[in-house]
Amino acid sequence: MITAYKILGKNAFEGFFGSLAQGREVYAPAQKSGKIVWAPMHSAADVDWRLDNTDMSPKEFFFPQSECLMRFKNAEGEGGRVMVPVAPLATQRVLLNIRPCDAKAFRLLDRIFVQDDMTNDPYWRDKREKTILIGQGCVNPCPECFCTSVGCGPFHEDGLDILLTDLGDRLLVKPISGKGLAMVKDLPEAAPGDIDLAGKIMAASEAAVKTYPGFEPKKLAGRTVLDIYDLPLWSSLYETCLNCGTCTFVCPTCHCFDIQDEVRGEAGRRVRNWDSCMQKLFTEHASGHNPRGEKRDRVRQRFMHKFTYIPMRRDGELGCVGCGRCVRFCPTNIDVREVVRRMGEDVEAKSK
């Protein structure tokens, strides 16, 4: 199929925004006291095209940091034990100007939250099904970005419904999914010149990402758990780690959670909260035993999960999309790019 590129002048964006907002909530990156956050857009004028990626990933939209899964009550006699499911999402949503890396992260999480009949998370699925992702190609990658090292890229399309390329006064619109195509079918066709221009912007952006430090994940391909588990780097890497949860909480692909029942008297609710493999409590057993009791074990877990365990179970696909948030926000600057490079070097040295 030949992709029908469309063109949308920024002066005509108001009309397009109106059609997006028809029966939907529209969210996009916005500024808030020095941060870039996801915020509701009330009009086309609220949309800021210049912003780089948000500080926090948009996973909160599908996997809220705290999510009530159900309420329950244990009443005497009539009624007995009652469980009340939470209502599904009431509105459709649009995430506008989402970056390709974050959209790809959702594809990865889809394969974790929705695997088969047994593992089929209704909370995740409900919100995913009701959300349209309109991506903006990254023309201004950040110095922490390394998407091209992990099979992603500043104009990667996986997971998006529509991909926009900012051409200055107009946007090149590339419908990717059927949903996306339906939304833009009335827009005018793009001129070949615009498509060429977008191609140049894309190439420049990819080249820019490649000027930043990256790594070669191929060195880790096909390695077993035991190949990596005892590498020398683990014995020193952990030392400066604070074991805070920052990297996991800002990460678009980290998805571990902790379910708590909050009970008072005969009633309560079940809440699912983000949890972090960096924290000791995460793996602590009721007996007091902790299989990952040492900081070294926890640091190793995070990197092995993304670069060993997930690829083993997911046909080699890495558990990282290269958004660079963990690099940017780690209080002690533990750089995943450096870590994976060293994993590669160590494993090569070991197999010699």
Binding site: E262, V263, R264, A267, G268, R269
Partner: protein, 156 residues
């Protein structure tokens, strides 16, 4: 008999933390003497106010208390020599911090009452209850602005 009920019908829930060696005995003596006061607090007995973890205060508010009252031995009378003296500094800091963050001063009370001071216990109990009652119920549903105690309360 109970002026709280007669006035507004609102009966505050107050978490009271009493030292075993003094205020707890004072409350007992007040009972033996048939001294009357509103029964609006639930007592938690502590071995000493030195055992009072500031977290207890927050926990009480989280669990729905309208007020917290901590009472121990007069300075110099501690069964463990100086538990209450250390506690005093902790209470000073805690009270300063919570009021700084927005806690209504009428919700957190401290007193020194010995096991012989039944009447002082009665007077203080009435004082504390009246101070908390005067603030009215914590009503998240109708409040225009959110208060500290309202948001400390765990809603489940």
């Amino acid at each position: 008999m109970n002026e709280c009920i007669e006035n507004t019908g609102f009966r505050p829930r107050i978490a009271a933390f009493f030292c075993n060696w003094c205020t707890y005995g004072g409350a007992d003596l007040a009972g033996v003497n048939r001294l009357q006061y509103p029964a609006d607090f639930r007592v938690v007995r502590l071995p000493c106010t030195g055992r009072m973890n500031p977290e207890f205060v927050l926990h009480a508010f989280r669990q729905g208390a309208d007020g917290v009252w901590v009472s121990g031995c007069h300075p110099g009378d501690c069964h463990y020599i100086a538990g209450n003296m250390y506690a005093r500094r902790r209470f000073t800091m805690l009270r300063e911090l919570l009021e700084y963050a927005g806690l209504d001063p009428g919700r957190l009370h401290f007193s020194w009452i010995s096991s012989a001071e039944a009447e002082k216990f009665q007077r203080t109990a009435k004082d504390v209850i009246e101070a908390v009652r005067a603030l009215g119920p914590v009503d998240a549903a109708t409040a225009a602005t959110k208060t500290m105690v309202m948001e400390l309360r765990k809603v489940i």
